[in-house]
C-alpha cells in the first residue's frame, strides 16, 4: 500500500499486542463455550432472544451543532454518531435526476475495533456498509421532493461491539427525522447471529465473529442477518444475510427480527416526540419574552408621547 503523506504514519510492520496474548489462540469450541453459560445467559447477562433495545439503549439527537440533524445511539458498548447536512446540488452531473440522491458514508474510528486498528483509508467493509445504509434509507426518504439534489449522511462508529450496521441505520433514521427531511416512515433495524440452533438477537462483536467463522462441525447453520424495516408500513427495506442457513432458519429469523425492529420503534418515537414538545415550549418562551419586550417598549412610547404632548 502506498504511504499516506497526509498523515503521520507509524512503522509499517507494527502488530497489535493482543496477537501475543494467551486469549488470542482459542479454538472454536472454547470461544463458543464462553459466549453462553448453562442457563442460556450470555456474557453480558442477556438471554438469547433479548436485544439491547431496552435497558442498554441510549439515543439522543442534536449531537452535533454544525449539522442540520444529528443523532447518537449507544447499544451498551456499540457507539454510533450520525449527522445529516442540508441537501446540496449534485456536482459534475450531466443528466437531470428526478429523484434526489442519498450519499452515505460509514466510517469506523481507527480505535473502534477490539481486535485490530482500522486504517484511515476506507476499506472494503466500510464501503459495503455505506452501500447497505444507502439501500436501507432510500425507500423511506421522500426523494421526489428534492430533485437533482443530494443529501449527505455521515455515520461514524466510535466503538464496534456488534450490530453496527443496525445501529448505523437506526441512528441515520433518527438523524434524518431530526433534520426534518420528509420521510414516509421511521426506519428501524436489528441484527441476529446464528450459530447452530442458537439465535443470538442483537449480537456482540464476539458473537458476530464466531457466527461468520466456519464451524468445525459441517452442515450446521451459521451466519449473520441484518434487517431494516419500516414498521408502520410493514415493509422490509433492506435485508443482508451472510453465512449459510437453511430456509427454515431464515424464515424464523425474519419473524424474530421483525418483532425486534418493532420493539425499537417506541424508543425512537419517544425521542422525536420529546423533541417536538421541547421545541414548542422553547417557542412559547421566546414568544412570551418578545411580548414582554414589546409591552415595555409600548409603555416607554406612551411615556414619551405624554411628555411630548405636555411639552
Amino acid at each position: 500500500m502506498p504511504l499516506d503523506y497526509r498523515r503521520f504514519n507509524g512503522p509499517e510492520d507494527s502488530i497489535p499486542y493482543n496477537y501475543y496474548t494467551k486469549e488470542y489462540l482459542k479454538s472454536y469450541h472454547e470461544l463458543h463455550r464462553e459466549l453462553i453459560d448453562e442457563n442460556g445467559v450470555r456474557k453480558d447477562g442477556r438471554t438469547l432472544d433479548e436485544a439491547r433495545s431496552l435497558c442498554m439503549f441510549f439515543a439522543r439527537t442534536d449531537m452535533i451543532s454544525q449539522a442540520k440533524g444529528s443523532a447518537y445511539i449507544e447499544l451498551k458498548k456499540t457507539k454510533v454518531v450520525c449527522s445529516v447536512f442540508d441537501p446540496r446540488e449534485i456536482m459534475h452531473q450531466n443528466e437531470f435526476s428526478a429523484l434526489g440522491q442519498l450519499f452515505c458514508e460509514v466510517k469506523f474510528a481507527p480505535f473502534s475495533c477490539p481486535r485490530q486498528r482500522r486504517p484511515h483509508a476506507p476499506d472494503a467493509e466500510e464501503k459495503a456498509l455505506s452501500v447497505a445504509l444507502r439501500k436501507a434509507l432510500e425507500p423511506t426518504v421522500c426523494r421526489h421532493l428534492f430533485p437533482n439534489y443530494q443529501l449527505d449522511i455521515f455515520v461514524y462508529i466510535l466503538e464496534h461491539d456488534g450490530a453496527c450496521l443496525a445501529a448505523a441505520i437506526n441512528a441515520a433514521g433518527l438523524a434524518l427525522a431530526d433534520a426534518a427531511v420528509p420521510m414516509y416512515d421511521i426506519i428501524t433495524a436489528c441484527s441476529l447471529a446464528v450459530i447452530g440452533d442458537q439465535m443470538f438477537v442483537d449480537p456482540t462483536e464476539a458473537e458476530e465473529n464466531l457466527a461468520i467463522m466456519n464451524p468445525e462441525k459441517d452442515g450446521i447453520n451459521n451466519g449473520l442477518i441484518t434487517m431494516a424495516v419500516m414498521p408502520e408500513l410493514r415493509q422490509i427495506s433492506d435485508f443482508r444475510q451472510i453465512g449459510s442457513m437453511d430456509v427454515n432458519c431464515i424464515m424464523k429469523a425474519t419473524e424474530v427480527l421483525q418483532k425486534e425492529c418493532e420493539k425499537i420503534l417506541p424508543n425512537i418515537q419517544q425521542i422525536l416526540v420529546l423533541n417536538v414538545v421541547n421545541s414548542f415550549e422553547q417557542q412559547k418562551q421566546l414568544e412570551k419574552e418578545a411580548k414582554e419586550r414589546e409591552a415595555a417598549l409600548n409603555a416607554k412610547m406612551e411615556e414619551w408621547k405624554t411628555l411630548l404632548n405636555a411639552g
Binding site: T140, I212, D218, G223, S244, M245, V247
Partner: protein, 308 residues
C-alpha cells in the same frame, strides 16, 4: 435500459401476466431464457468459461497462485473476485460508470463464497500455515443485457468446475523455508470440487410476485429485486452420483438491490421461489458441465467457439 419507454397500460399488461405465472414471452416466473455455455476457452487460464444469456455476455478466467495463508485461518486457501465491466458492454459503463456495479457484484460473490458450506477453501491448502493456493477469479463483462448477477455466478461456477490445480508436494525445510516439488507432467492436475458453489438468483419484484431473469421490459416495471445465493448440490456434478438423501440447499447470502422495499410475506415467498429456481438451474448446469467434460475426454473437440 435507457431509451426504453413503456406506457402504463403496457406495464399493467406485464404485471397481470406475472400474477398469472405466464409472462409476455411465454415463460413461467421461474424460467430462465436460453443460455450458451462454453468452458475452457482461455488457454492461459487454469479454468475458464464463457456464458451468454440473452444479450449478456460474460467471460470468466481463473488464475492460480501460491500464497501465504492468513494467520487466523492457517488451513484455508484464498479466493478473490474481480469484476471488470468493459466499456463496450453498455453506454452507461463509459468512464467510471461501471465501477460501482462491478464492486457490487464482486462483493456479492465474495459474500456468497464466504461460507465453507458454499465453497470449501480447505482443498486449496498446500501446507498448513505456510502455503496455500490463491484463486483469482477474473470476470469480464463483455456485453450487458440485464440479469448480470445470475449470469456471473453461473459462469464463475462453470469456470471453477473447470479449474485444474497442479499437484504440488511441499516439505518444510530447516529454518522455516518451504520446498516445492512439482510433477513434470503438465497434465498431472487435480480438479476443484465446485459442486457446492453457490448460484445467485435475482428475483425481480413485480406486483407482489417475483420473477427470475427479467427482460428489459419487466425490469422497468420493478423497483426492487432480491438477490439470493443458494449453495449447489454436489450430486449433479459428479458422474458416480453418490446420493446424499439429507442434502439440503442453503442460503449463503441474501441481499437487496434497488430503491424500493418489500413486504415480509412477499419476501418469504420470494426466497422459497429463489431456492426452487436455483435448484433447477443447478441441475441443468451440472448436466451441461458433465456432458462437456465427457466430450472433452472422449475425443478432441473440433468445434470452436468465438474466442478459440
Amino acid at each position: 435500459m435507457a431509451g426504453l419507454l413503456l406506457s402504463p397500460t403496457e406495464k399493467i399488461y406485464i404485471l397481470h401476466g406475472v400474477q398469472d405465472d405466464y409472462r409476455s414471452d411465454g415463460r413461467t416466473n421461474i424460467d430462465y431464457r436460453p443460455m450458451e455455455l462454453e468452458t475452457d476457452v482461455v488457454s492461459h487460464a487454469s479454468g475458464s468459461a464463457r456464458l451468454r444469456l440473452a444479450n449478456t455476455d460474460i467471460l470468466v478466467g481463473v488464475k492460480t497462485e501460491i500464497d501465504v495463508p492468513k494467520p487466523d485461518n492457517p488451513g484455508l486457501g484464498k479466493i478473490d473476485f474481480f469484476v471488470d465491466c468493459s466499456a463496450n458492454a453498455t453506454p452507461e459503463f463509459e468512464g467510471r460508470g461501471g465501477e460501482q456495479l462491478a464492486n457490487n457484484i464482486s462483493n456479492m460473490l465474495q459474500r456468497a463464497y464466504n461460507s465453507s458450506q458454499a465453497f470449501d477453501l480447505k482443498q486449496l491448502c498446500i501446507l498448513e500455515g505456510k502455503q496455500c493456493w490463491k484463486l483469482y477469479v477474473d470476470i469480464l463483462i463483455l456485453e450487458c443485457g440485464g440479469n448480470l448477477c445470475d449470469a456471473v455466478s453461473l459462469a464463475v461456477k462453470a469456470a471453477l468446475f473447470n479449474t485444474r490445480i497442479p499437484f504440488v508436494k511441499a516439505a518444510l525445510m530447516d529454518g522455516g523455508s518451504v520446498d516445492f516439488q512439482l510433477s513434470d507432467d503438465p497434465y498431472d492436475c487435480k480438479l476443484l470440487e465446485a459442486g457446492t458453489a453457490p448460484l445467485l438468483v435475482t428475483l425481480c419484484k413485480i406486483g407482489d410476485k417475483c420473477v427470475v431473469d427479467p427482460s428489459a421490459e419487466e425490469e422497468s416495471c420493478s423497483v426492487i429485486s432480491l438477490i439470493v445465493g443458494i449453495t449447489g448440490n454436489p450430486k449433479y456434478y459428479s458422474k458416480d452420483a453418490i446420493e446424499t438423501p439429507n442434502f439440503k440447499c442453503k442460503c449463503s447470502t441474501i441481499g437487496m438491490n434497488g430503491p424500493g422495499s418489500v413486504a415480509p410475506e412477499t419476501f418469504k415467498n420470494a426466497i422459497n421461489q429463489g431456492i426452487i429456481a436455483a435448484n433447477s438451474l443447478d441441475e441443468a448446469l451440472g448436466r451441461a458441465l458433465l456432458r462437456e467434460r465427457q466430450e472433452c475426454n472422449n475425443f478432441k473437440k473440433n468445434s470452436y467457439g468465438f474466442l478459440k
